[in-house]
């Protein structure tokens, strides 16, 4: 296992905001330790020389991403789909005010 990776509180909070998550109090302390452990663990990859190796992003070996014909196949499903909506009115999804 690699050595403990350091992550500052500032960096952690920035990452939490990027992730739209919050860590506070004891949860924050626990998380910081675990996060450092995980980073320390994955850091062992640095020992491996991968110069010039192509990254493998998918093992689906198709010649190209499949394409569908430009045809409308989906009808209006608003009523059904909005049954699971958190909040909908006048056909819109209602969300907290978006401030530009």
């Amino acid at each position: 296992m690699g050595e403990m990776a350091e992550i500052s509180d500032k960096e952690l909070q920035k990452l939490a905001l990027l992730s739209r998550l919050r860590f506070e109090g004891e949860a924050l302390a626990t998380f910081r330790t675990q996060f450092a452990n995980i980073l320390g663990f994955v850091d062992q990859l640095k020992q491996l020389n991968t110069d010039g190796i192509r990254p493998l992003t998918s093992t689906a070996n198709l010649p190209s991403t499949p394409e569908r014909p430009d045809v409308v196949t989906s009808a209006n499903q608003r009523e059904t789909l909005q049954r699971s909506a958190v909040k909908a009115e006048h056909g819109f999804y209602v969300v907290p005010k978006v401030v530009e």
Partner: protein, 491 residues
């Protein structure tokens, strides 16, 4: 009567249904009662009684009309990762607790089209993240062999329900071992096919380039039957392979062990491997050798790095896949003052600790400045792993190795240290990273602290070799002899 009915294999049960010695409705009622009775195992998140009885009635009608499909009347469980139209699908997360999809996953649609009966939705690690089932927002599922132990994960409920005779088979999904490892922990047969074999459409995504649906059953013939029902090309999934599905059931016995080259990968027989498991795998391999197979020690040198690479790739994809759970359209919303706070409140309340950890690790690995050092690096390691498998499969036909390094552990034993739990996946992750099919079949038991626990033999093959894996697992079942999971009336 009840026990003798529930302990039948799927194949035997279907034969009885076909001969009308058994009605699908009677079978459904019996299975539903069993599913309710095993509640202490927390395997089912919700039992879909109405749906099951409807489907069973339809199966009875189909048998009467002579139009019954290949699985007509067979009660199955569904991992709660597969969207089921009109039926709550939660991925064992508070985030999706209120979510009822309007659509059906391709995998489950195929099961219902074949006449199967949906007993209910099965517990799992939240969003399939975990190897013990303890990360479920609705409490851990328990191992039928010992309720104080985990059934493995992430398909914890699937494995537990099949092993507890509360369904005749179940769907699972395997991203880094989530079918094979729980199969090993519960004495069931679990197969993860080649990436692209089964459609991911309607399956709640964890890590898109690794997720693959598969099945649990109590024997290989049943697994073959279920797998060939759910496999096949789907135009709704761009990564689905346009390949015909072989008749795996029909070809199950067409195997010649003479001259078969079985590879034993050195890197899987390491110090961290429980010696009892090691002995069991070697013993199994030797049984094949006695039948004329050749055992070859092979090497997959990048194996020790697979777990680390996986814990970058999978979280990176997961961080992005789970961004849609933002409380805006569906799922959980916890209002805050303003938009950003509502996002944060919803996601902080909706996700469990492991999901949060992985989202954070994934976003870290993808963020600017770290992308090449982590994400690109992990994808390069993935190439190394895949190339090494390719090379090895030029020497041997199949790899035999342990499914998991340890026996089922006690609930809570590894809960504090995520990394120790990650290492439980060390033998299942490499095949996932290379997109290869893998299968776990029981190969014995071991006693620990006075309880008997199952051991799983993992077989890994080249791409699209599910047929061979099923044949060899079936052959193993003949060599091994009967393997009975204890039927326990009350847990």
């Amino acid at each position: 009567m009840t026990q003798s009915l529930l302990t039948l294999s799927a194949t035997e049960t279907l034969a009885k249904l076909r001969k009308k010695e058994l009605s699908a409705t009677e079978l459904a009622r019996t299975t539903l009662a069993r599913a309710a009775a095993i509640a202490p195992l927390n395997a089912y998140l919700h039992i879909t009684e109405t749906k099951a009885l409807e489907q069973a009635a339809a199966a009875d009608a189909a048998y009467a009309a002579g139009t019954a499909g290949p699985l007509a009347g067979l009660p199955l469980g569904v991992k709660d990762l597969f969207c089921t139209a009109g039926i709550k699908t939660t991925a064992a997360s508070k985030m999706l607790e209120p979510f009822v999809p309007a659509y059906e996953s391709t995998v489950t649609a195929k099961l219902w089209a074949a006449g199967a009966v949906n007993v209910g939705k099965l517990n799992m690690d939240e969003f399939a993240m975990g190897g013990s089932g303890e990360n479920s927002a609705f409490g851990p599922a328990r191992n039928p062999w010992d309720v104080n132990r985990v059934p493995g994960g992430s398909s914890s409920g699937s494995a537990a329900a099949v092993a507890a005779y509360a369904c005749f088979g179940a769907t699972g999904s395997d991203t880094g071992g989530s079918i094979r490892q729980p199969a090993s922990f519960t004495g069931t047969v679990g197969i993860k096919p080649t990436y692209g074999r089964c459609s991911r459409f309607g399956m709640v995504a964890f890590a898109s380039s690794l997720d693959q649906a598969g099945v649990f059953a109590r024997n290989t013939a049943d697994a073959a039957l279920l797998l060939q029902t759910i496999a096949g090309h789907d135009a709704n999934d761009s990564t689905s392979a346009p390949l015909a599905v072989p008749d795996w059931v029909g070809e199950l016995k067409q195997v010649n062990l003479k001259g078969l080259k079985i590879g034993l990968p050195r890197e899987y027989f390491i110090e961290a491997l429980n010696p009892v498991i090691k002995a069991a795998i070697h013993a199994a391999a030797q049984r094949f050798e006695a039948q004329g197979a050749e055992l070859v020690e092979v090497s997959l040198p990048s194996t020790p790095y697979a777990v680390a690479a996986y814990y970058i790739v999978a979280p990176a994809e997961a961080a992005s896949n789970l961004a849609r759970y933002d409380g805006m359209r569906y799922g959980l919303r916890v209002e805050g003052s303003g938009l950003i706070e509502t996002y944060i409140n919803s996601r902080t309340a909706g996700f469990g600790d492991e999901v949060k950890r992985r989202i954070m690790v994934g976003n870290y690995a993808l963020s600017s400045g770290y992308y090449d050092a982590y994400y690109t690096k992990a994808m390069q390691v993935r190439t190394l792993i895949a190339n090494e498998f390719d090379a090895v499969f030029k020497q041997v036909d199949v790899l035999f190795c342990p499914t998991a390094p340890s026996l089922p552990f006690k609930i809570g034993a590894k809960a504090k240290d995520p990394v120790s739990l990650y290492l439980e996946d060390a033998f299942t992750i490499p095949a996932s990273m290379a997109g290869l099919p893998g299968l776990s079949v029981p190969c014995g038991t071991a006693a620990e602290d006075g309880v008997t626990l199952p051991i799983g033999l993992q077989m890994i093959g080249p791409r699209w070799s599910e047929g061979r894996l099923l044949q060899l697992a079936h052959a193993w079942e003949q060599l091994r002899g009967p393997f009975q999971i204890p039927f326990i009336q009350n847990y």
